[in-house]
């Protein structure tokens, strides 16, 4: 018994070391397990989704009049913004064409459903029901309707794991929308993120929105990602704009920075 437990403990430590060394066998086991679990989770989540739908339906009925008034007011306000946005978009396209500027407008590669919140206290990741079958690859950016959710870190045949921006291993180059200063948004494994590496003459206030800067090559530029919620001395707290607690459907962006052709031996090198 003792020998068995000892052997299994050594085996577990071996798995940890191999994983730390990014061993492909361990990665295959992880993606294989996720591939097997994804369809089961999809089936199991069906009743949960129905209960949630029923809850929202009852909630909606309860304050339908109030909600109707709010939506009417919001609709009127959004119509005005739509006019402004259309005008600015047209102007932007015209000026970009005049300047021959190369704009980055990534298309959505796929829309996937979040089938598993694979986390626990140490990891912030979700499992989606799209993998290589839909052309998903590692390091593609993932968004919801409000902003950046994270990036793909592992891909299986029919599932993929998305590392959320709140994970401790997440470091994203961002820009403060108002002051255009660059910084790095760092996950803390809790719902709050921290903004670091700002310039010495930082210009930031509570309420500032953060956008991806596009530096680093994984996330396309100018996507909303967070809003500054508190400033305590050097520490700048940020809340995610994406609803990370209530993810349902997400979009995977088709954004890969073109590689530079060195022209030496026909091979290409990334940045």
């Amino acid at each position: 018994m003792r020998i068995t437990i000892g052997f299994l403990l050594i085996l577990a430590i071996g798995f940890l070391i191999l994983s730390r060394l990014d061993n492909p066998f361990v990665e295959k086991l992880k993606t294989g397990a996720a591939d097997l679990a994804a369809p089961v989770l999809e089936v199991l989540s069906w009743p949960v989704e129905k209960v949630q739908d029923m809850g929202s339906w009852f909630g909606g009925i309860w304050n339908v009049n109030e909600e109707n008034q709010r939506l009417k007011a919001e609709n009127a306000r959004l119509r005005q913004w739509q006019q402004v946005a259309q005008r600015l978009d047209m102007e932007n396209r015209r000026l970009s064409a005049l300047l021959n500027a190369k704009l980055v407008r990534p298309d959505a590669l796929a829309t996937a459903r979040v089938v598993g919140v694979a986390g626990g206290p140490f990891v912030r990741s979700v499992l989606i029901n799209a993998g290589r079958d839909l052309g998903i690859a590692e390091n593609l950016a993932v968004i919801d309707e409000n902003g950046i959710v994270g990036r793909v870190i592992a891909v299986g045949g029919n599932s993929a794991r998305v590392l959320l921006i709140t994970d401790l291993n997440s470091r994203i180059p961002v820009r403060v929308e108002r002051s255009a200063q660059n910084g790095i948004l760092i996950g803390q494994n809790i719902d709050r993120l921290e903004l670091g590496f700002l310039p010495i003459d930082r210009d930031i206030v509570v309420g500032d929105r953060l956008l991806t800067s596009g530096h680093g090559g994984i996330f396309p530029p100018d996507f909303p990602i967070g809003v500054v919620t508190a400033i305590n001395g050097e520490r700048v707290d940020v809340a995610s704009l994406a609803f990370l607690d209530k993810l349902d459907f997400v979009q995977i962006l088709d954004y890969v920075i073109p590689q530079i052709d060195t022209g030496d031996d026909g091979e290409e090198t990334g940045q």
């Binding site: 018994m1 068995t4 437990i5 299994l8 403990l9 085996l11 577990a12 430590i13 071996g14 798995f15 940890l16 994983s19 730390r20 361990v26 086991l29 992880k30 397990a33 996720a34 679990a37 089961v40 989770l41 199991l44 989540s45 949960v48 949630q52 979040v114 089938v115 598993g116 919140v117 694979a118 986390g119 626990g120 206290p121 140490f122 990891v123 912030r124 990741s125 979700v126 499992l127 870190i153 592992a154 794991r161 401790l168 291993n169 803390q188 494994n189 809790i190 719902d191 607690d245 209530k246 993810l247 349902d248």
Partner: protein, 169 residues
Amino acid sequence: MNPTRGEWLQMALKAASPVFLALGLILLAMLPYGMAYPGIIIPNVAVIVVYYWLIHRPDLMTPAIVFFIGLILDFLSGGPPGLNAISLLLVSIFVAKQDDILIRGSFLLVWAGLAVTAVGAGFVSWMVGSLYMADVLNVRPLLVQTLITIAFYPLFSWMFGRLHKSILE
């Protein structure tokens, strides 16, 4: 008289029921419930399952099964593979050392044992996780999950007790 093939199958399924239960609960714990702090306010079901069956049916919760449950949890959670396997194996050592007291003890004593086990397993996970990531991990989410695990044990214990009586006895 030797058991028939059907009886063998029935025995095998009964013997594997704690494993199926663990896998089922791990999957249920992973579902997107749309609540705040996903993955944290869900109890650590693996610790609960392993602890309960190690006390009541240790023959069905062998070290190899404990390791398998831990590794599956690691693979599915996307965390460091081996982390939960280590903490659950240490849980099995702890329970094996205390089984005389836990088997004969009152429910409150067993619950207190679970509390010690959950805190210990959490501490081991935190230490191994911190070493793996070469960073001092935030303990707050772990503390919250440990408290929820302790709070939910009576409910799981009652459900497992029903299953134990109806299937395995």
